[in-house]
Symmetry: C2
Subunit: 311 residues, 2 copies
Amino acid sequence: MARCRLCRNEKKRTPAEIYLPAHRLPLCRQHFVEWFERYLERTIRSFRMFSRREKILVAVSGGKDSLTLWQALTSLGYEADGLFIYLGIEENSFSLLSRRAVEATAERLGRPLHIIDMEAELGFTIPDLRKKTRKYCSMCGSVKRYYLNQLAKRLGYQVIATGHNLDDEASSLLGNLLNWNLKYLARKYPVLPEEHGFVRKVKPLCRFTAKEIRTYAEIKGLPYLPESCPLSEEATRPLYAELMDELEEKAPGTKLRFYLEYLRKALPLFAEKRENFMDKALIKCERCGEPAVSSPCLVCRLKEEFKNHAR
Amino acid sequence: MARCRLCRNEKKRTPAEIYLPAHRLPLCRQHFVEWFERYLERTIRSFRMFSRREKILVAVSGGKDSLTLWQALTSLGYEADGLFIYLGIEENSFSLLSRRAVEATAERLGRPLHIIDMEAELGFTIPDLRKKTRKYCSMCGSVKRYYLNQLAKRLGYQVIATGHNLDDEASSLLGNLLNWNLKYLARKYPVLPEEHGFVRKVKPLCRFTAKEIRTYAEIKGLPYLPESCPLSEEATRPLYAELMDELEEKAPGTKLRFYLEYLRKALPLFAEKRENFMDKALIKCERCGEPAVSSPCLVCRLKEEFKNHAR
């Protein structure tokens, strides 16, 4: 077995338990954690995501990505608190187990955790929404982004951090290229600045593969929930993810290069023409005051609709 | 079995023997040929490739694509002649069988065929080149393009047509996107205008899949050689082609949409910035007068090298 590259620098002969093909790096468990956190720090700096003087709100779902992000940011000395949205998904006790994973992590890190109960806020859960519309999956995303942004502003957080990883970014980039979704291609940057009533949003794990993140979560013993949402019905994303996995398997480093070269070379070209394919201007919802493409916004409309039905 | 859509229009009840999933079109054999030629005509017109008053030189290799192109252009009444380059590949009698396929097609179509013997022109064959360099595969392409262009000018052809199909275009587009090869992405149009000493070049089969072309070649009984070059060593292209095939299988029409939307929406963005990533300006080779990136050009340098070795 190869020896840990970083131990070798320290004149030790520890066998490497982990091999990172994209970085051609054999590492022992301890140095893997060190590498992970150092590479995260470099990502945060090189994209100018945030500083140690800013308060960060991490969107935590209970999965490996968001819990790893929360753990690693805290280890690095960032002031990062959690926000969990309780969606009321009873299948496989998904929401309950997710909340427990998040609470256990909060306790372990000694950081504040904010919890929003979707039913209390909106008058309905995701399973309720699913009975009404086939678009519940994308709507769930919209609702979560809405509360994340609203809460960050209310509680004075300067930055929202989400756990999107390299697999997510590379496969959605591929999907958007295959469909030439220019609107998306023009703004897929891992930092979206504060503007139009939106808090700054960042994706600090954008250079880490799902596998690297899982390794970190396991070494650290994070109590994450391995299952993905039982109601998720994304049809084509897994296909693009599989294709990227095949490419990565044959040529390690493909995902990272594909994504980083896009950010460096192609995104600026798309972004320059952004106004040509941005279809809807942002306005302010006249009920809640949040930025939206229509007024009342989606969340206010859903609230109204479910209130009428409950009567 | 479904009935032929076009027979149905003619109030006949012929069963469809062919189904085109990307076009959702069931057709009988006769109407498939009609559809193929009509769609080719539409492609030629919509990209303004050439008119019936122009002389076209078709680069024929003996494979299904180039022979189909030659046959269909002739059926449509275009003045299309063939150019075959004898590369001297003895493995599996490849060059010999290719030349026979091309000659049989010329006879059948009653059209002139020009044959260039690489060894007579250059003093070496592709197998000779292969003994000297690992880049023989891309050099073979360069040498063929050189003679195609030179001969077209000398013999007064206004247009060079090649058999590149949708599978080629979509998979090389995917490969160039995964590597963000902007230089290529800025000029992947199926028509390259006459400029800098280059004759106009077109790819009339760019909207047809390999499968559609094979069907046409088989119905027409074209004597094409089914084997691809025994010396071909492209490592990653087949992978991208496989990925595109998988996508096409799951969502028929993906290749065509991916390619056409690129031409319509993305290529103009890349092309606008073309001068930023065109690395080398074109000059004139001081020996042969052909356009090249260096002088002497690749072909003149190879000639020289092999002459010296023969002494």
